[in-house]
């Protein structure tokens, strides 16, 4: 077991109960001790299998990137009919919403030999925001073991770690929160599109 220890002010009892039930679901557990001075120590124990995550693999040029599946709402084709320009920036029209787009090939300066199609969009959500990340192709969904990158890479916020694939090659795992922030930041001044208007999509995770 991997044990993470931290100190903080004690939250309400029901929050602890909730956290305990969440951790139980993933075979983890929460212990906490209240100290005389009002502070408390929480010990979260998580099984190492949590280092295995489900990712959607997507290709950009000759490079393959891994997106944690829980942050992907759905995937879409990028066509002339669902892309439009609002105040000089390209957005994806998705069921009456306009989503900011992050073109991964340009954002990551991916070297591309030929002008292949940037034909797919992963709709990524984080908290109240969602954006589209444009890739060339979707490779598929895999379970991968997270391999951490050394500290010299921690300032690259859009990359959270790496995974070794079946063919021994490495795919970088991207961070949904940072991608959302970058899509919004790179696109400039436009308004941030709120996440859903109560409408929920049934079209989940279909490559």
């Amino acid at each position: 077991l991997l044990t993470i220890e931290s100190s903080a002010g004690a939250p309400a009892d029901q929050e602890i109960t909730h956290l305990q039930s969440v951790l139980t679901q993933v075979s983890g557990r929460l212990e906490w001790h209240q100290h005389a001075n009002g502070s408390a120590t929480f010990i979260l124990s998580l099984p190492l299998t949590l280092a295995i995550i489900r990712v959607m693999m997507a290709r950009v040029g000759d490079e393959v990137y891994a997106f944690p599946i829980q942050s992907i709402q759905e995937t879409q084709r990028l066509t002339a009919s669902n892309i439009s320009t609002i105040r000089g920036r390209e957005v994806l029209e998705l069921r009456n919403e306009a989503l900011s787009l992050l073109f991964l090939r340009e954002y990551f300066d991916v070297p591309v030999a030929s002008a292949s199609d940037q034909g797919r969009v992963l709709i990524i959500h984080h908290q109240d925001h969602k954006i589209g990340v444009v890739v060339d192709h979707i490779v598929g969904i895999r379970e991968v073991v997270i391999k951490p990158l050394t500290s010299r890479f921690t300032n690259i916020r859009t990359i959270s770690g790496s995974a070794i694939l079946g063919d021994e090659q490495i795919a970088l795992i991207l961070d949904a929160e940072a991608l959302v922030e970058e899509a919004i930041r790179c696109q400039g001044r436009g308004p941030v599109v709120p996440f859903s208007n109560g409408k929920h999509t049934e079209q989940r995770l279909i490559p």
Binding site: R152, I164, E168
Partner: protein, 156 residues
């Protein structure tokens, strides 16, 4: 882990075993004790947004480690990857790091007293990044200060 060049007393008979690796026309020396292994250059995965001297990351026995291009680090060109090129894996305090080399030359032994202090600039590299230089019969080895050269917060 770095070779000790402070001891220059004439009666020192300290032997240093080193390997050389070549980038362009220069040959760099590494104390054998810092070298973890030498591998043929595997496929390197580029890391976007990383400094250009970080060539990428490789899979070394299931661990993902960075590979650094010394030539790009010092802005003196780029290390060419070819059939002879190797990754020299060195053991730094908190991480293993791969150094990209165009070729690796054989082990050389000499006494510590043969190491000379670096001139102000060697092969485009400032003396502050150098530990010293060694003149052998027909070779000239440059010893880098690895901590300084490979430290994280120095360039970009």
């Amino acid at each position: 882990m770095n070779i000790n060049i402070e001891k220059k007393s004439a009666n020192s008979i300290q032997e240093l075993n080193t390997i050389g690796f070549r980038i362009g026309s220069e040959e760099y020396g590494l104390a054998l004790s810092t070298v973890q292994e030498i591998i043929t250059t595997p496929r390197i995965t580029r890391v976007p947004k990383a400094p250009t001297y970080i060539k990428g990351v490789i899979n070394l026995h299931g661990n993902v480690i960075p590979v650094i291009d010394i030539a790009r680090r010092f802005k003196i060109g780029e290390t060419k990857i070819g059939p002879g090129s190797r990754v020299v894996v060195i053991d730094m305090a908190d991480e293993a790091i791969g150094l990209l080399a165009e070729s690796v030359s054989k082990v050389a032994s000499f006494s510590a007293s043969q190491i000379q202090p670096p001139p102000p600039l060697v092969a485009g590299i400032a003396a502050e990044y150098l530990q010293g230089v060694v003149r052998l019969r027909n070779r000239f080895l440059i010893f880098l200060d690895l901590q300084k050269t490979l430290g994280e917060d120095d360039t970009n």
